[in-house]
Amino acid sequence: MADREDLLNRALEGELTPEEERELVSMLEADADFRATFLQLLEQDELVAQELDGSRSADAFLEEMRIRLNDRRGSDYVEDVMRKARRRSRPVRVRWGAWTAVAACLVGALGVAVLLSRRQAGPSPSDGRPRIAEASPGAYILRGGERLTCDRGAVLRKSDEIRTGSDGGVTLAYKGEPTTVRVASDARISIPETEGGKQLGLFSGRIDAQVAPQPEMKPFMVSTPNAIAIVRGTEFNLAVREKQTRLDVIEGLVEFRKQVDTGSLNYKVGAGRYAIAGEGVAFAVLPFDEKPILLQELAAAGRPFRDIEYRDGRVLFEDDFSKGIGKWVVKTRSGKKDRERSATEEHRRCVTADRVRDGDGTIPVMSLDARKTGDTWLLARMKEPIPVRRFVVEVRFRCLQDTNRYWSADMGELTAVFVDGTTQIFQKSRKGELRPLMAGKWAVWRRESVAVAAEDGKIDVHIRAYVNGHLYRWGRERSEFDGPWNCGLSVWGARAHVDRVVLKELVPVGEEK
């Protein structure tokens, strides 16, 4: 029989065999004190992890929760809740209100005006609405096309717009908290139609805000044409000028989000620093005493993503598999070090050109079927090396397997699972755990990569990776490998169809076309 303490320790490490688990269970069942100790240690390990691992802190948990809720708002989740609400409403009338309320608020957050107006028909709380604390004579409120004076104490409504004249501004305050927003002269702000925490829209001009601590899930948000500032309690200035938004943080921390075609880029801007989102400047966080980075001045190639933005350049490689898979070579990866190896004849037979049904017709694909290759990866690698150090690869694919198997694209950081007719994409954490990203019949994976020489002679590879436009991974990887780079698509134990692969050069925005 194994030592009790040894069993307990290895159970906490998650290293027990099924037989040892049985043994431990009988010990736990027989001895209440031992069981209490074990449960306490499970809790204690969790508390220590939450305390020391920043990604597991309470703040990180709440932030992830907020993201998951927001993600679901935009998916079938809302429809599903609505459907359940309607179904439930027929036999159980008394619950109809509650279900509809939950559904309505979810949809309301999406900005669906019809449901929102239904909600507003009932009593609505006045909390969270800004009031006029001070106003200069030139300022006025636009409400439904009507021009109203900014009377002190007036409560603003959704869709109201405030315009300040050239001779002064307006100060907004919120009931029950010391938050103030000073709207400077020649500014235009609005109260958005959306639900949630305190929100303002800033079309032009400048605001200086002092924001009292806000609930984690209800931050103070200011939207501009280029960006969103998300605040949980701090002092900052935000200015919109021409096609740029500048955020200056005086105290605390502000999340600054720039909208881009593929989603959004985020920074947390600390005290004494600023960031500009908009045309012509790099989206970067800088100290007050440093000048903005103008993209035109960034002709030097290979600057990291944090300092420079890139656009897709010329197409270097494209394959829609209409002429077969002649541009690809089959390899495998196996062994403890997971090295790439030559493929056997069996491996080669598993990668084929195929035509598959898509909608009403059929489309050509590269099919990778690794269900019979044992514990080895099936790898399709582009024959030609990538001739540049800054590139983006886009792969449209779907996974065809009804069990949890891995689809790995280049970096092995994604897992796709085929469930109920959809390819569901999960992100693999460093600890090998899966976090759901999104689902769809076909998925488009995009990975941007910029390699630059580091000072120590090694190579820094700056990457950004997306699935269906959702940025899920970014950062820097240090490597001794300096190219030529290559593109490989690999599958383990599963079947996948690749519909299209496009490789493009990445060009710094502002660089001569």
Binding site: L47, A49, V102
Partner: protein
């Protein structure tokens, strides 16, 4: 948040203020995550299951009895979600089940954990400050970076057995320290 505040927050959510749910999550996340840990889950799996349970609870808030206990209801959801996951895993692994996971799940119906989670978290925070030197490095590697004992042993140039024993000692010291801190707090 006391019981009345929780009920008020739930009513606000039901009335359409979904953001009020944030304060509920904030209040109960620690208790819920510790409950998931007592089921034998570790690391991000704890957060994943707990977040899913909070979302499920929001979806089903219309069924919640306002006079009931929200944390107890939430733990029931966590338990059900985990049971479904275990069953799914068992199907995929052709019937192979984790005895320990099953046992902890069944046990959780009678044993939902301590109520003084905030106090225990504060006490543990104080106790962690007392760990220094190599032990502190070991704790960092194990809990902050999520490394396995074998990886820690390579980094710290210790045998795996020594790492396991050191971890066991640290766990025992922390447990004792937390108990002492809680006793001290109880006696003012």
């Amino acid at each position: 948040m006391d019981g009345t505040e929780v009920r008020e927050a739930i009513e606000r959510v039901r009335a359409g203020d979904v953001e009020a749910y944030g304060s509920i999550v904030e209040t109960f996340q620690l208790d819920a995550r510790l409950f998931a840990a007592r089921l034998g889950l570790r690391g991000h799996a704890v957060d994943d299951l707990t977040q899913e349970a909070f979302l499920r609870a929001l979806e089903k808030l219309g069924r919640f009895d306002p006079e009931g206990s929200f944390p107890a209801w939430l733990k029931g959801i966590i338990r059900n979600l985990y049971r479904q996951r275990l069953e799914r895993q068992a199907r995929e692994k052709r019937g192979r089940q984790s005895y320990l996971a099953r046992y902890l799940l069944n046990r959780s119906e009678h044993d939902t954990g301590a109520e003084d989670v905030q106090e225990r978290a504060a006490a543990l925070r104080e106790c962690l400050k007392k760990i220094s030197g190599k032990a502190s490095r070991l704790v960092q590697l194990k809990f902050a970076e999520g490394k396995k004992a074998v990886e820690v042993s390579t980094i710290l140039r210790m045998s795996v057995g020594s790492v396991t024993k050191a971890l066991s000692r640290i766990r025992a010291v922390l447990r004792e320290c937390v108990a002492t801190e809680l006793r001290r707090a109880a006696h003012g």
